[in-house]
Amino acid sequence: MDFSFSDDQVLLRDTARAILSKECPPSLVRAHIDDPAAVAPLWSQLKDFTALGDGPCTDLCLFIDETGYVAAPGVFFPTTAMFAPLLAALDHELLPSVLSGEVTGTVAVAGADGHWTLNDEPVKTFVPEADRVDWIAVVDTGPTVRVLPAADVATRQTRMVDFSRLFFEVDTTGTPGSGVGLDPAVFNDLTARATAALAAEMVGTSRRLLEMAIAYAKERIQFDVPIGSFQAIQHRLAECSLAVERATAAAQYASMTLDASDAELSSSQERFRAVHVAKAAAGNAATRAAKDSIQVHGGIGYTWEHDLHLYLRRAVGSEHWLGTTSWHHDRLADLLFKAR
């Protein structure tokens, strides 16, 4: 067991941090609200890293965590955490051009109920960035996969509280082609991978929210002292940081178990347990950090002008995507009670 990062991984994280803090300031996240094309300069940097989509999950998650810290909008997440691994599993001819950053894609699974479970409904919901990408992989019962040019399907944006990630309904009625079969176990692994990546992303968002609260608590003076010297604030933030630290470790552990071979794990269920734990811990951390951070900021945190809500929105949106915290707790319970 070794939870430390290699020098290469530290370098990757530092590189991600440097690029994202420069290319994805809050002003870009705001500009994207009215004009999604505002992400172009950010994408021109991120496209050099799409090869992470076909590498170890730990490396991908390290990078994605940093995109969560800045609430990066755009196609990086669906392309690397969802589309590329699916193409790799299919040994699809598009994979090289995705890994080189020339081509982007997203994945459509959920039906009307919004759950990421296999179905044969023609309209798929909560498909991220469907109008920005080049390709949409549609997964139906089987599972079978069709990789369709995005231009060939009708999309309708679902307006969401989170402006930094755009979701669409994708209507595949009348689209051509029969699907390619996929091993159900492979589909489950791909789902786990996307979920682990989302957990890592949410950890980044949580850390941002907590750091903003800590910084403000040190600087805001009331009753002649920094509010961070009040124990009520200290204890709130201590508990909040525990939630964030737990989620960080859980997300890291989940990505490690996804990279591990079966033989290296205590049981084949460990991978799924770890992913449910990670997403639930991250959901808890993200919403908690958002609530605590706004509370600590007082009135200023309630304004549109302040950047906090950009990350609050991302936190709330992510918590509800790919399974809420409660949903993951329930799936975890299924595994635990069955195993016992």
Binding site: M1, F3, R246
Partner: protein, 400 residues
């Protein structure tokens, strides 16, 4: 970044396993996933209130020592086998997995030994093997009636008189004082300097004239700790550990020792408790209840993310950097452990508080552990103090 143990750790675990298979006393089969301080829970579900360190537990500790398994990281002469940090982790997990305690009294091996090895002189270091083997029982005299969380406010005085110190004052909540041969007594040696700067540490023999021990029962009824009164107690000057007025630095060291090793045990106990909640739910016919399932899964999520956090802290610790993760572990494992015990009682409904071996379940195990769990959220720095520490030392918020 690896997930598994290397061949060295696997071999180490096998050797340990073989030793444990052969030597673990049968008494452990009754289960000790929460107990530790304050006696043993017998078959009847009752604490054996007066026998706080049973003979079999003393023999077990000596056996561990004699086979180099008491503190594996120590050299053989101190009851170890020069184990690596990672091997130590394997060791602690294996003991916890089997629900086996090393010892029924942690002060000697957990606090006194590391402190003497770090701060003691050559003569004092000679006390270590007996402390680790459990041949000498130690107690720790830190807290006083007016100095609990604010330890630096302690008032027990030691005045230098030729080649000895004269000690006067009172300690309280001193665990094991009624059975201990020696005590680490923190005393005030200078009242005219800021309070952290006038504290020293003395090694005091408990049979020195002028010491009076008045046992206090724990809320669980066991004879767990005591008040200790010092009236003109003469202590040889060479019994001071470290320099005069340098005691505060040692308290910081010994508390760190206490915390660093404890998280593994804390997390393993928490894991074990959460998994046994599933058994309780099944026996009570509540395993299909959506609320119960979700509650238990939530606790499992907390326990396993904490374990991951412990590993993460361990990894940075092993690489020589300080590990803020450790500050979180004590607070979180103790609080969550308490919550898990309380939930166990909830699942038992009306039978939650029953401690009747012929009625109810598990001889009141959950309520016993619930009662004991307060020790963990109060002793060794309360949860509130831990939050202060996290806020100020980890998050860097200003002191109040």
């Amino acid at each position: 970044m690896h997930l598994t143990w290397g061949p060295e750790e696997v071999a180490f675990r096998e050797e340990l396993g073989a030793f444990l298979d052969e030597h673990v006393p049968p008494e452990f089969e009754r289960g000790f996933d929460y107990a530790g301080e304050g006696g043993e829970v017998g078959d009847d579900g009752q604490l054996d209130a007066d026998n706080i360190i049973p003979d079999w537990a003393r023999r077990w500790q000596a056996t561990l020592f004699d086979h180099g398994w008491m503190i594996p990281a120590y050299p053989p002469e101190l009851g170890g086998r020069n184990a690596t940090l990672v091997q130590t982790l394997v060791y602690l997990e294996e003991l916890a997995r089997r629900r086996v305690l090393r010892s029924f009294h942690y002060p000697g091996y957990g606090i006194v030994s590391p402190s003497l090895l770090e701060f003691g002189n050559e003569e004092q270091k000679k006390l270590v093997p007996a402390a680790v083997r459990g041949d000498t029982i130690w107690c720790i005299g830190m807290s006083e009636p007016n100095a609990g969380s604010d330890l630096a406010g302690l008032q027990t005085r030691a005045t230098r008189d030729g080649d000895r110190f004269i000690v006067n004052g009172q300690k309280v909540w001193t665990s094991y004082a009624m059975v201990a041969q020696k005590c680490f007594v923190y005393v005030r040696t200078d009242a005219d300097v800021p309070k952290h700067k006038g504290i020293s540490l003395l090694i005091v023999d408990m049979d020195t004239p002028g010491i009076e021990v008045r046992p206090l029962r724990h809320l669980s009824r066991s004879a767990g700790f005591a008040e200790v009164f010092f009236t003109d107690v003469e202590v040889p000057a060479e019994n001071i550990v470290g320099e005069v007025n340098d005691g505060w630095r040692i308290t910081q060291g010994s508390l760190a020792h206490e915390r660093a090793g404890l998280w593994v045990e804390g997390v393993c106990r928490l894991d074990a408790s959460v998994l046994s909640l599933i058994d309780v739910a099944q026996r009570r016919g509540l395993d299909q209840d959506a609320g119960v399932r979700r509650d238990i899964a939530t606790m499992y999520e907390q326990a396993s993310s904490l374990r991951a956090l412990g590993y993460k802290g361990f990894a940075s610790f092993a690489q020589g950097s300080s590990a803020p993760e450790h500050s979180y572990m004590k607070m979180a494992t103790s609080e969550m452990g308490k919550a898990a015990c309380e939930y166990g009682m909830q699942l038992q409904g009306a039978y939650g508080p029953v401690m009747d071996p012929e009625r109810g379940e598990e001889n009141g195990r959950w309520v016993n552990y619930f009662f004991m769990s307060f020790a963990n959220t109060i002793a060794g720095g309360s949860s509130e103090i831990q939050r202060n520490i996290i806020a100020q030392r980890v998050l860097g918020l200003p002191r109040s």
